[in-house]
């Protein structure tokens, strides 16, 4: 709300002759309508957008390696989960798997 009130008395950082239309949430400076752009649901100034894109491009290589590592960990986790499931299935008596409990409950209960 304070931003909205401030905006009326502010001028664009790049064009002092123009009234400010928005405030960049990254650098907190005021800008006119032509100096800001909508990026991923946020209104950013051109400088901040440029900085963000450059940083993201630099971090992409790092995040690419991190993603591969997480994918590898994910496959290991899946392996363990399915292995656990297999061990549980192996531990169950075959009379349970064959559904003989419906036919011969008394026999099934015998050790």
């Amino acid at each position: 709300m304070a931003d909205m009130n401030d905006i009326h008395s502010q001028r664009c950082f790049h064009h002092p002759q123009r009234e400010a239309a928005a405030r960049c949430p990254e650098c907190r400076r005021f800008y006119c309508r032509e100096c800001v752009v909508d990026h991923e649901t946020r209104i950013l100034c051109a400088d901040c957008l440029d900085r963000l894109v450059t940083a993201r491009a630099a971090g992409r290589t790092r995040s690419g390696r991190g993603l591969m590592l997480r994918a590898f960990v994910g496959v290991i986790l899946l392996w363990l989960l399915f292995y656990g499931m297999g061990r549980i299935l192996l531990a169950l008596p075959s009379s349970f798997h064959e559904g003989q409990v419906w036919r011969y409950p008394a026999e099934w209960s015998e050790p």
Binding site: R70, A71, Y83, G86, H97, W102
Partner: protein
């Protein structure tokens, strides 16, 4: 309408499941091919694994390599589902995003990195019940949002969690009607209850197969129908088909199979139940994915305005056709 006002939902509770059916019917053949190529091998692999671990004499020796194979098939399934969801999203947004090899590779990495935790978190949330819808929605949203457009997993996770918490009434109804997890829970509870009655109570009270069969069938309906109504109808139909198909084959074509010789007792076999669930999963899951595509598209449109552009394009096309 009152429910929408109370919960803050922006659309009617039945709107998403209904639109999901329509969207799945409008899906291009490439979307279905991607879905089936990814999902059918996993379902078949899971059934083979289940059957082998249930009765294989030396199955314990094969358990570890078979589990690794199943893990890779699971990743393949998630990739196929992500491509299916991306194609459905293209249908909804009326634009075609090319599916390059690089994008498919990204989808594979993203799905392998994000989805395995779901296999652990969703059953745990299902036991706890309260956060189930959020956790279920989060992983389904990751399938839809992890379409290879970005590899920023932090952004994807934030968006997926935010979208999972929106429109709770419609979300819960979608899960109740379409989620295979709820169907699995209903099957475990209903068949587990019948098993308990047969194995424990029947022995104590004296075994009367017909009486316990009737009690078991009634309990099956009473437990399963309220928990997963659509899944119940599906499983009942598929079960009847599976039981009577061998008999029909013999009557119509004279083909005698080993399944006919079990004379109906096969329904108590755990592999039969797993097969039933597998086929029911293949029927329900594509519609569930379509429902989450719609949810994500609607949430995205709040900031992009894409839904308005699509509506305008549709109107313009209709106008041009009329002229």
């Amino acid at each position: 309408m009152r429910a929408m006002r109370r919960t803050g939902d922006r659309y009617g509770p039945m709107q998403v499941p209904e639109e999901a059916v329509l969207l799945a019917r409008r899906a291009p053949w490439a979307a279905w091919a991607a879905y089936l190529v990814g999902t059918v091998p996993f379902v078949m692999g899971l059934l083979y694994f289940w059957s082998d671990m249930s009765r294989g004499a030396l199955a314990y020796e094969r358990c570890a390599p078979a589990a690794l194979g199943l893990a890779l098939l699971f990743v393949g399934m998630k990739c196929g589902q992500a491509v299916y969801a991306a194609k459905l999203h293209d249908v909804m947004s009326r634009r075609i995003r090319p599916l390059s090899a690089r994008r498919i590779r990204r989808i594979c990495w993203l799905q392998a990195a994000t989805q395995p935790l779901g296999l652990l978190a969703i059953p745990l949330a299902l036991i706890a019940m309260i956060p189930f819808a959020h956790v279920h929605g989060f992983f389904q949203n990751l399938t839809v949002l992890g379409d290879g457009e970005t590899t920023d997993t932090k952004l994807l996770r934030t968006k997926a969690w935010k979208y999972a918490r929106l429109d709770p009434l419609s979300h819960h109804l979608t899960i109740w009607l379409l989620s295979p997890w709820i169907l699995g829970l209903a099957m475990i509870l209903s068949f587990g209850l019948v098993w308990f009655l047969m194995a424990v109570v029947a022995i104590e009270t004296g075994y009367d197969p017909l009486a316990w069969f009737i009690v078991g069938a009634l309990l099956y309906v009473l437990v399963m129908w309220p928990l997963s109504p659509l899944g119940f109808a599906l499983v009942l139909n598929l079960g009847l088909l599976f039981v009577y198909l061998p008999e029909l084959l013999r009557i119509l074509f004279g083909w005698d199979t080993i399944f006919r010789l079990s004379s109906g007792y096969a329904v108590a076999n755990t592999t039969f139940l797993a097969a039933l669930f597998g086929v029911a999963f293949l029927c329900l899951d594509p519609i569930l994915k379509a429902a989450y595509v719609i949810r994500c598209f609607k949430q995205d449109s709040l900031t992009t305005g894409r839904d308005i552009l699509v509506a305008l394009e549709t109107q313009r096309a209709a106008q041009e056709d009329a002229e």
